[in-house]
Symmetry: C2
Subunit: 150 residues, 2 copies
DNA sequence: TGCGATCGAATCGCGCGCAATATAGTCGCG
DNA sequence: CGCGACTATATTGCGCGCGATTCGATCGCA
């Protein structure tokens, strides 16, 4: 059966890699949570704000491409950020199908409050910047392969 | 030491690593979904079945320790697996606080139906077993560091 | 024996995350 | 202009995932 030299352990390796990603993601979330609670943001909301802090006036679709998320995920999340006063959702007057995301002053100000987070999380990983950079590149490459396969 | 990048990039490295884990997890899920749909399982349900196929008669708490999940996540999930006829949830007669998880014959049989999944997923990663094993070890080590930090 | 502390699981409320679907707006073409 | 195809976002239904809380069972200890 296993003419490629793999063993019974190899048979479940995908499960272990996937579970490793899955559980590392949860562990990350648990580190971020107390830091983000202080900002009144969830982790996905924080990701949205990171994108918009870099450049706002994006459409929902453009944001979804950056984050690999669907409008069914983003629309309610963005409404909550709007309700929190961090951004405005404005129909594009040239193409009323699109919704443009504009940071409010309050939304822009929150960037400063979030400035301390990266260092905290890097510290919690217990890893060097070089190691983190390599891990990141590896995971991004893996994500691209999985996208192609799907 | 080489000059390997600007400070500004370092400031956001944690975000990029975390996002890489986060989005790779979603990409994994999208690969698993069609495979698991055929079995009538979700990914978390599949993880539970993997643990129980290895050894059942665990308590909810023991299962949670293996998967790093809380009873508030597992209880409803386990009820769905019970409703699907894959396992039984039985109060331990010696300690009625605990619930023991026992696979049904149908639950045990489903193991065979799932046998093809690992190879499919490994193929989708486009990576060698050696690479996957290393990535797995790295992520598990990261998870341990994050647990300690939290 | 009694009774408070603790424990394991269950429940509740909320926010994702997505597939399927709906709705509204735009475009292409006769 | 009118109509069908297409596009962007929104809605719905379901299953996580967790913190906070509850509930019944068990333990500790006088």
């Amino acid at each position: 059966m296993q003419d490629d030299g793999s063993t019974a352990e190899d048979q479940t390796l995908d499960q272990m890699v996937c579970f490793a990603i899955y559980s590392a993601g949860h562990a990350m979330n648990r580190v971020y949570k107390p830091l983000l609670d202080a900002l009144g943001l969830t982790y996905p909301q924080y990701l949205v704000m990171l994108v918009l802090w870099e450049r706002d006036d994006l459409t929902v679709g453009q944001l979804g491409e950056r984050l690999f998320l669907e409008s069914s995920t983003l629309t309610p999340l963005l409404k909550r950020l709007e309700a929190a006063g961090l951004l405005r959702r404005v129909r594009d007057s040239l193409d009323e199908r699109q919704v443009r995301l504009l940071l409010t002053d309050a939304g822009r100000r929150r960037r400063g409050d979030a400035a301390a987070i990266p260092a905290c999380v890097i510290k919690a990983t217990g890893r060097s910047l070089v190691e983190l950079r390599r891990l990141q590149a590896e995971l991004e490459s893996l994500r691209r392969s999985l996208h192609e396969a799907a």
